[in-house]
């Protein structure tokens, strides 16, 4: 009896963010009379939030190491501006231009990482400087004006959908197939994980609960892809996003690099005395953030089909909020990629839902602020109780 309640509590804590997401989604689904989860709107939701989610994935690594990055919005804008110069003014091949832009992002990350990791200047200050610096440089590069339009092929990153090789007319068959495949892989992983835990006599939940979870996974993934399939199918950006989330989750959970990132944030001195190259890790995390900020800037530019001086404004705050809503600790050492993504979705669903309801930006901001505070407070109070 005792163990069941403790197990429930543990599971509840882990999934409290998922529950919050579900509740908020349901709330807006009702408030918007079902508009929120219409195929068109779900597609929109993904397109609108992809760049924040990508930033959140980079940001959660930064925050786990105990730092922060305020410059990502400006960096995204700056890289967007450079991409416009390359692709529109110089008519460079979009693929080559994209590679160059990501490299620029890496360089910017290296620049900031150098000051933070090797010189020891607090990240707050370095990236605050970066925020001003790269916003300024964006204006310089664009000479204060927007540049448009991008080549068709580049726009596809944000606005394109997976082609359907199976020639479905009303429904996008490839999307359905991908949905089934992904859900089966997820279920396979769950079963493998549970068997492993059983083998080592870990405490596992009851069988019934586990099967219910498997059914839920199957249902959710397939409903999701089915709904998208009835519109235009899976957006390209969703594929990119999915790949990023899977890759970073794997790295953070399963690899030595991931372990080192957590160790640096958990106790810098102990990590360094255990042979973790703490400076390199910190440096690497900022380089990574630079690359993801660049990617985010490219996606945003492709979606707007223009590079503008105001691009990426306040992105950093949305990304940081997503990470904290997703359960990361401001003191470092704690946080997950999936949590950050869920946090980002919470913010995204709220933005989208409130826009549909016709709420002004003023109220949207105020409400988002309160939700951030409430989510983190809930998490902390929850932790204290156990």
């Amino acid at each position: 009896m005792n163990s069941i309640t403790s197990l429930l509590k543990k599971n509840l804590k882990q999934s409290s963010m998922v529950i919050a997401l579900v509740l908020i989604t349901l709330l807006f689904q009702v408030l918007t009379d079902g508009t929120l989860l219409k195929p068109l709107n779900i597609t929109n939701l993904i397109l609108q939030n992809s760049y924040i989610l990508i930033l959140a994935v980079g940001m959660v690594l930064v925050i786990i190491t105990g730092h922060i990055d305020l410059s990502v919005g400006s960096v995204a804008a700056f890289v967007g501006a450079i991409s416009a110069i390359l692709m529109i003014n110089m008519e460079m091949n979009p693929f080559l231009a994209t590679i160059i832009c990501l490299a620029v992002g890496a360089l910017i990350g290296a620049w900031q990482g150098f000051w933070i990791a090797y010189v020891g200047i607090p990240a707050f200050i370095v990236t605050l400087a970066g925020m001003l610096l790269f916003r300024g440089l964006t204006l310089v590069v664009l000479q204060g004006q927007s540049i448009a339009p991008y080549p068709e092929s580049f726009q596809k990153i944000s606005n394109g959908f997976l082609p359907d090789f199976f020639g479905g007319t009303d429904i996008h068959i490839l999307s359905i197939i991908i949905g089934v495949a992904v859900s089966l892989i997820l279920i396979g992983l769950e079963i493998k994980g549970r068997n492993n835990q059983l083998r080592y006599n870990f405490e596992v939940g009851s069988k019934g609960l586990f099967y219910a979870k498997l059914v839920a996974i199957f249902a959710v993934v397939n409903t999701f892809t089915y709904v998208l399939a009835t519109y235009k199918g899976l957006p390209n950006i969703l594929v990119i996003l999915f790949a990023i989330i899977v890759a970073y989750t794997f790295v953070m959970k399963k690899t030595i690099i991931g372990r080192h990132v957590y160790a640096v944030g958990g106790n810098l001195k102990a990590a360094s005395l255990s042979g973790v190259q703490t400076k390199k890790v910190t440096f690497g995390v900022f380089v990574n953030m630079g690359v993801l900020a660049a990617l985010s800037g490219l996606i945003f530019a492709a979606r707007l089909n223009a590079a503008t001086p105001r691009a990426g404004n306040l992105f950093e705050l949305d990304a940081i909020a997503a990470v904290f809503i997703g359960g990361a600790s401001a003191y470092g050492g704690v946080g997950t990629v999936v949590g950050a993504v869920i946090g980002g979705l919470v913010m995204g669903v709220m933005n989208n839902g409130m826009s549909i309801l016709g709420l002004g930006i003023d109220w949207q901001q105020a409400i988002k602020g309160l939700v951030l505070l409430a989510a983190v407070a809930f998490d902390i109070i929850n932790k204290k109780k156990s």
Partner: protein
């Protein structure tokens, strides 16, 4: 003499953490104006009991009754227990390094009127308190500029400023050298004559024997017995703690010493910030295969700095000298290189330098040797679990599971996790810095056994310890350091406390 009156009674205290029953029906009775010791193995529940008493774990989170001066107490927080004069000094000191002694003494209890601090009063009262505890320092000195021994006295001054009736000290001498410990204990005895009651937790049984009027033994969360003054002997306490007598403090060993394999030559280290200050001066030492070598010395003699600088220049970058292993010169410029060369260093400060408290046991054990449980950078979780389980059994780490957060373990068990981490790195040279600090007699014996086992496998062991009996009992050869230099080298046969003390206080420079 006044007749004995009970000042504190704790009745059937039970306290559970998820998965652990830390206290199970514990009873404790403390008489006014006595020094009452609490003894027990690591993880027995001593600290937990004191946290219940002082309101760290508030009323309602435990079962049982607390009677202080015949009054039923239901503390919601520490403030309420302090108001009654119950003050706890925790296992980890809680002073703020960047503030002055006076500011720390009156922290939370500022000498102020209408929110404005009266500095004259603060300083003069602090001065009085410092005289009382026998600390000759200006009240304006910053905490970070005085040693742990003096910091401990500041903690006591702070307690006195709160009008303390019952002072609780959780392992107050664990980090102190012999002189400072002696000072502190004398002070406690002095305060006892003035009518103060104290409860002291310590693993140093000789100290307990010296100061305690009675000893309560806790084993596996249960109060076993209370021993009265006349019966207090070290053997008697050990018997109660472990349930059997321990005939030998140091395990038997047949040293099997091979040839010299590790040499340090002309080693110099400078302070990381004040780069003219030389901390280690021209040290030469060598270690043979299968040999246990000790480094004795007073606090501040440069022992830790020597060890840390050898271990990948972890102490300041300005370090010169040569290190040879098996005749080959080593590049030890980073910790990871040092680990690769088969060196391991177990820090004296496990919380700060040894552990990631928020992570679990298995992640802490694997951290320094992740490549052993990974292939192509991907960690094999099952392997990690198996390894951690193996060390949990081998080292007798008391915890329900290796998934337990290290921060929730008792001090001694945390130390075993750090040791496990470095044993798993399978070093050729294991440097142990105060390896038995805060560890109970039984666990000490276990750790000594492990040291002997490693030595018999042909590994070299370098032990830094402030406890001379330990150094003498365990080591084949002892270096003595004083003011950054090696002032003596003593073979086991000639090692006595007197000889070591002579070298420890002797400066050649």
């Amino acid at each position: 003499m006044k007749s004995e009156s009970t000042i504190l009674e704790m009745k059937s205290i039970t306290k559970e953490f998820p998965g652990v029953k830390a206290l199970d029906n514990v009873n404790l009775k403390v008489v006014e104006a006595e020094i009452h010791a609490i003894c027990g193995e690591n993880g027995a529940g001593k600290s937990t009991l004191m946290k219940v008493l002082s309101g760290v774990y508030p009323y309602g989170t435990y079962e049982g009754e607390i009677l202080f001066k015949d009054q039923l107490c239901e503390f919601k927080d520490i403030k309420q227990s302090e108001d009654l004069g119950i003050v706890i000094i925790h296992q980890e000191l809680a002073l703020i390094p960047e503030l002055s002694i006076a500011e720390n003494i009156f922290l939370g209890n500022e000498q102020a009127s209408k929110g404005v601090i009266n500095w004259n009063e603060t300083i003069s009262k602090a001065r009085e308190l410092l005289i009382k505890v026998g600390l000759q320092e200006s009240p304006n000195t910053l905490i970070k500029d005085i040693g742990v021994g003096k910091q401990q006295l500041v903690e006591i001054a702070k307690a006195l400023s709160k009008n303390v009736k019952l002072l609780i000290l959780d392992e107050p001498t664990a980090a102190l050298n012999e002189n400072d410990s002696e000072n502190l204990l004398n002070l406690l005895m002095e305060l006892r004559t003035q009518g103060m009651t104290s409860i002291i937790i310590s693993h140093k049984l000789n100290e307990i024997k010296k100061v305690a009027n009675s000893v309560t033994i806790i084993r596996d969360g249960q109060s076993i017995e209370t021993i009265a003054t006349a019966d207090i002997t070290e053997d008697r306490i050990i018997n109660g703690m472990v349930g059997r007598s321990l005939t030998n403090r140091y395990p038997e060993r047949q040293p099997n010493i091979g040839e010299t394999f590790f040499e340090v030559k002309h080693w110099n280290t400078y302070h990381p910030i004040q780069s003219e200050r030389q901390i280690v001066k021209d040290v030469n030492l060598h270690i043979k295969k299968g040999e246990i070598v000790g480094i004795a010395g007073l606090m501040g003699s440069g022992r830790t700095e020597l060890a840390m600088s050898i271990f990948g220049k972890s102490y300041g970058k300005k370090t010169t000298g040569e290190v040879y292993k098996d005749g080959k010169q080593l590049d030890l410029s980073t910790v990871s290189k040092a680990i690769k060369e088969g060196i391991a260093y177990v820090s004296e400060d496990r919380k700060e330098y040894g552990l990631i408290l928020m992570n679990d046991i298995k992640e802490n054990i694997s951290l320094a040797s992740l490549n052993k449980i990974a292939s192509k950078n991907v960690i094999n979780d099952s392997k990690e679990y198996v390894v951690a389980e193996e060390y949990r059994t081998k080292m007798n780490i008391k915890t329900p599971s290796v998934n337990q957060t290290v921060g929730n373990l008792s001090g001694g068990n945390q130390q075993k996790v750090v040791l496990s981490k470095w044993m798993f790195s399978e070093p050729d040279l294991l440097i142990l810095d105060e390896p038995t600090r805060g560890i109970d007699v039984g666990a000490k014996y276990e750790i000594y056994t492990i040291m002997n086992e490693l030595a018999s496998q042909g590994k070299g062991i370098l032990v830094i310890s402030s406890e001379l009996p330990e150094i003498i009992g365990m080591c084949d050869r002892i270096y003595v350091m004083s003011e950054g230099q090696i002032t003596g080298e003593v073979e086991k046969a000639n090692a006595t406390q007197e000889v070591l003390m002579k070298y420890m206080t002797n400066s050649r420079g």
